[in-house]
Amino acid sequence: MTDSLLNDRDLKFQLYEVLDIEALLERPRYAEHDRAVFDSVLDTAHDLAKHYFAPHNQKGDAEEPVFEDGRVRLIPETKTAWDAFADAGFLAAHHDAEDGGMQLPEVVLRACMAYFNAANVSTTAYPFLTIGAANLVKSFAAPELRERFLPPMMDGRFSGTMALTEPGQGSALGDIRTTAKPAEDGSYRLFGQKMFISGGDHELTENIVHMVLARIEGAPAGAKGISLFLVPKVLVNSDGELGARNDVALAGLLHKMGYRNTTSTVLSFGEGDGAVGYLVGKPHHGLAYMFQMMNEARIGVGLGAATLAYQSYVHALSYARERPQGRLPSSKDPLSKQVRIIQHADVRRLLLMQKAYAEGSLSLCLYATSLAEDARTAPDPEQARQAGELLDLLTPMVKSYPSRYGVIASDLAIQVLGGAGYTREYLLEQFYRDNRLNPIHEGTEGIQAIDLLGRKLGRAVAKATHCS
């Protein structure tokens, strides 16, 4: 058994040598930073991941969340991990200084998330989703709404979710049926059911902010009639105090193959008078807003898959270096010492395949994040535009490649351990089950293919034709 999550040297090679993130220090936004700060932040992520996230990875899998008396019970280590993450400032790290953040470059935050994912991907899902939901609030919510909900999502009092999928439709979001009725006070009342909502209920935080897609009564059909709403689990008064429980109920938990410590929920909105929701941005533009979160989440899923692949590889490598078995073909003496299995050609092949998938995927995801960084903060507008377009084109692959080949890496890692890899005494079978989710959520592989071929390439070709 190894206690290594990610190799610091490998990660720093990606950040400093491949991506040259020190060049970011020249941008005014990052003038206050230096490499020592980045290193300290990464070290802190590694330490917290190891101390608060890794130790309960297996326990969270074995003792999955339970729904009883209308409440969700998680193993208590999840709450300790959440608190450590929030308390250290990771939920707020990339936000603007004026909002209370430290303006950490996104690519450094992603690298930090790689440590947390490697340690415990299902507990990390709670902060991961909260960061994404907070970004949506920050980007698109009206100032009053933002002031009420963003600070507690940055300090860890509130968590967040993305509530898109319904029992009848997930991949085809244009068909969603949750409806929003305008109320007299300018807010809306939501009615409908959402399904597979990760982190949709738990007691890690005093409130949960659901970012919900719904259709305002009378809206046009299809994707152009979808709006985005902020729906809190508990209502929040204008002074920030918690009010009554909103009309959002947990209808049940789904029982998953992996990622078990992340609750996957069925949520009912408006079983009574309707769930109070606040429109985010303009009516009927919800899907476009949600795509910001989804695109971030897609890079995040790629990274989660890459780190699970990397973890599988690290564990298999450590086992192969220690486990003696058999002799090399050149050895004819049956009484000679057995060799470590890493010396066998086929085991080396298995390991090298994993290494290629894992490190290649990690590199791809960090590269994509650096494009997102450039799109946002590159001083040259042309460079920013190009980075944005390239990221747009690559996102379906950044999501799909690590998801598909990460599972294969986890599969090969089990193969290295043989029978031992198939037992629950080792983490490999859990990594495989956890990683099997990644080709499915945040747009299945097929959806990514449609996005790439149907939308992104078509657009790029049209543009190239137009230019020439």
Binding site: D8, E32, A36, V41, T44, A88
Partner: protein, 249 residues
């Protein structure tokens, strides 16, 4: 009330130590370095005393190469107020370190000096004791509990027979044991703030201390590999093996 904490930059406790090929020491090139864990405990204790309103300033001192600045910055991110680096060879002997710290103490006049009981690289466990003697201050080593009074400090020490509690007049030297506290992790905003805290650099020359080695390292090597154990069938067999094989009785 001012507290001085000494911290050492050492090979990270997770790293598997390797002896250099030429047997002159342990490999430190391309190896992760971090703050000595006992010193983290020392710093945590100082910061807690300050947070309880019983101290005004925590000064973090390190003696080592220029990279030890990073170790001091970590200490400042954990709650130290300012840092002092005495830039010197990383392999100084405990007596030299004690003399350098004594010179820093004379400049700074702290009321309390807290150190880790030992550094995990050479495990000498000497600096604190030597420093107490050089300064003529009382010392409470292997502290598992520290309670600050008005002019004295009560230190519960871990000793062979259990624990003993001493009352020391201040100024005093305390060295920390593992059970004293659980050190905090630096929060990200504090990592940023630490950059702006003052950090002075001195040299042994500034402090008038000769750092020449007085001990000679003959050879560094790995301890012999442990041999597997064996079960014995009876007490007689055990005694027989202890006498004839192990030759210890």
């Amino acid at each position: 009330m001012k507290i001085l904490v000494a911290v050492k930059r050492v090979v990270d406790y997770n790293v598997r130590i390797r002896v250099k090929a030429d047997q002159t020491g342990v490999e430190t090139a391309n190896v992760k370095m971090s703050m000595n864990p006992f010193d983290e405990i020392a710093l945590e204790e100082a910061v807690r005393i300050k947070e309880a309103g019983k101290a005004d300033e925590v000064v973090v001192v390190s003696i080592g190469p220029s990279q030890a600045q990073e170790t001091i910055r970590t200490g400042l991110a954990m709650g130290g107020d300012r840092g002092i680096l005495v830039e010197a060879d990383p392999d100084l002997e405990p007596l030299t370190v004690a003399k350098l710290l004594k010179a820093v103490v004379e400049k700074e006049s702290p009321d309390l000096l807290i150190l880790g009981k030992q550094a995990i690289d050479d495990d000498s466990n000497q600096t604190g004791q030597m420093l107490g003697e050089l300064l003529g201050w009382p010392q409470g080593t292997f502290a598992s509990k520290v309670e600050l009074g008005d002019s004295e400090v009560s230190v519960t020490r871990e000793i062979d027979g259990g624990a003993e509690t001493l009352a020391l007049n201040m100024p005093a030297v305390i060295t920390t044991d593992l059970r004293l506290n659980e050190p905090r992790y630096a929060k990200l905003p504090n990592i940023m703030k630490a950059k702006k805290k003052p950090l002075d650099t001195l040299t042994p020359g500034d402090l008038g201390v000769d750092t020449a080695h007085r001990l000679k390292v003959v050879k560094v090597e790995e301890p012999p590999k442990r041999k597997g154990g064996a079960k014995v069938g009876s007490v007689q067999e055990l005694v027989e093996k202890l006498r004839n094989e192990a030759k210890v009785i």
